[in-house]
């Protein structure tokens, strides 16, 4: 659905990625990593300095008009709606622009306005809507022409929990019908809930594309296990633990999940003592971003230091 071959533009540096149809991809990375640039390249708003891009089999910057028919987009800095017009007036205009059949339009408008919760706002001018209300309408506007590809930049910013859930449901449903979605978000929980694949950008470099589990294993493999035991403390010398602290009958273990599993640790412990309580903390997706940021800072500090020398 989207192919980037060694694409460079602004901060993006030789990015290659292939997103198949039907995937919901979360584009993550710290602020300024190049996420919005990636989306703008994919829809043809920007042209690559180097490399090739194919979106839905088309060259986005050259075949814009054709591409737009099957594309739904939402960017923070691009207004979707005419502020002066009512919500329903805006959708009427979209019907005309995308040449949507009247019956299908009526059916879809009814469904989207109902599910995203803007059915009562239909006759209100867009300029009178709150940020959250406007965002709900904008999501509906991005979906009304049943696009095959959705590019969403921070789509749930300003949405309340109900609207977020409705949005997640819609995306999941449309995915089953073949919709491909690429979305950026700083809400890692949202990415976890919604996305089948994750693309990680760090300072313009495409570091990884895969499932959430794979990405966490690769970038933050360190799991933590806290144990409270009854009786003698176990001997864990043979395990490849990274960190091991003891406080009375409580143990805190950090280990690389690529080298040793929680099951292996527990098995060894129960052979020697009784476990009263156990808590395992697996890294969150947000930890990946934090870790990358920390690494970047460390790299920058090291460069500064070398330059001074």
């Amino acid at each position: 659905m989207i192919i980037f071959e060694n694409v460079s533009k602004f901060i993006l540096n030789s990015v290659s990625i292939h997103v198949p149809q039907g995937e919901t991809v979360g584009l993550i990375g710290a602020s300024g990593a190049g996420k919005t640039t990636f989306l703008k390249l994919a829809c043809g708003l920007l042209k690559p300095s180097n490399g090739r891009i194919y979106t839905m089999g088309l060259k986005p910057a050259l075949e814009q008009k054709e591409l737009c028919r099957g594309l739904g987009v939402l960017f923070a800095d691009i207004p979707v709606l005419q502020k002066e017009d009512t919500v329903v007036g805006n959708f009427e205009l979209l019907r005309s622009i995308y040449q949507i059949n009247k019956d299908r339009f009526d059916q879809d408008y009814h469904e989207l306005s109902d599910r995203l919760g803007f059915v009562l706002l239909s006759d209100r001018p867009v300029r009178d809507l709150s940020l959250g209300q406007r965002r709900r309408v904008e999501i509906g506007a991005a979906l009304i022409h049943r696009p095959g590809l959705l590019l969403l930049d921070e789509p749930t910013a300003g949405l309340d929990e109900n609207a977020k859930q409705a949005f997640y449901e819609l995306i999941r449903e449309r995915r089953r019908e073949g919709l491909t979605t690429i979305l950026t978000s700083h809400d890692m929980e949202e990415i976890s809930k919604l996305c089948s694949r994750i693309a990680l950008l760090d300072q313009g470099k495409h570091l990884y594309y895969g499932t959430e589990e794979q990405i966490k294993k690769r970038f933050t493999p360190m799991d933590t296990m806290q144990l409270e035991v009854e009786g003698r403390l176990p001997d864990l010398e043979d395990l490849p633990l990274v960190r091991y602290t003891v406080d009375e009958n409580r143990l805190s273990l950090s280990y690389d999940s690529n080298c040793v599993t929680a099951a292996e640790i527990v098995k060894l412990v129960v052979q020697q003592t009784v476990i009263k309580k156990m808590k395992i903390r697996k890294p969150e997706l947000a930890d990946v971003i934090v870790r990358l940021k920390t690494n970047d800072k460390a790299e920058n500090l090291s460069v500064d230091h070398e330059e001074r020398e």
């Binding site: 708003l45 008009k65 207004p79 017009d85």
Partner: protein, 269 residues
Amino acid sequence: MKSDTLHMMLVYTKTIMKAWFQYRSNALLSSLTVFLREATGIVVIYFTLLKFGTLGGWNIYEMLFLFSLLFLTYGIMIIFFTGLRDFGKTVRDGGFDRFILRPRGLLFQLIFTNADWFAAVGHGGLGIALFLISAGRVGIQWNAVNILYYLFTVMGGVLIQGAIFLLLAALNIYLLETNSLKELFYWNMRKFAGYPISIFHKAIQVCMIYVVPFAFVNYFPAQYLLRKPDMAQYPQLYLYITPIVGIVMYLAAYGFWKYSLKFYKSSGN
């Protein structure tokens, strides 16, 4: 014209009318403000000419007729070309990116999504008022030929000014900001266009005929209908070619616009 295009034009127009005339008293006052602002300049000239009689051989009513063409063509032009006049703002607001992301012609969307109706009513209303005051007092025979000439020449004047806005919008793609250019090449030149160009220095005349050809918007058309002696210093052909100048300028500006779009860079990066 395809029915969906027509439908889109109707929807856009409905939206614009709703937006501009939502508050009727405000709309009336805004239009009146534009009308009075522009009329003030005319009143000053009127009283000046009452004292001096003529300006370069043009009497007060001939001058008003000259002005009427300028205001009327602007009033019509701005209904279609507000989007181009305000193109810089549209780009900065991200509105142009929205147009790019829709499967419709960019110029079509720019033209039909905005219309400054206050300016249209203010300028157009003043143009009509000046025409009504002057047309019967300048000795024009309003026969079929002259009426047709007048209609075509107004269309040409609209296209000439539209072409200037289109050209400036295209330049905006390279320069990002063209307000100073617009001030210099449109608004300042337009101030000269209220007077017979023959009263100005040769350099300004050349500018008004060949650089920013406002002379074809009102001076030469008025000359065709009035036949003033100062026309002797210009080729007679100029009396007839306003619609052609308009079409050629517009096509040239459109070509430049299409070419310039290749260099457009999205905002926000």
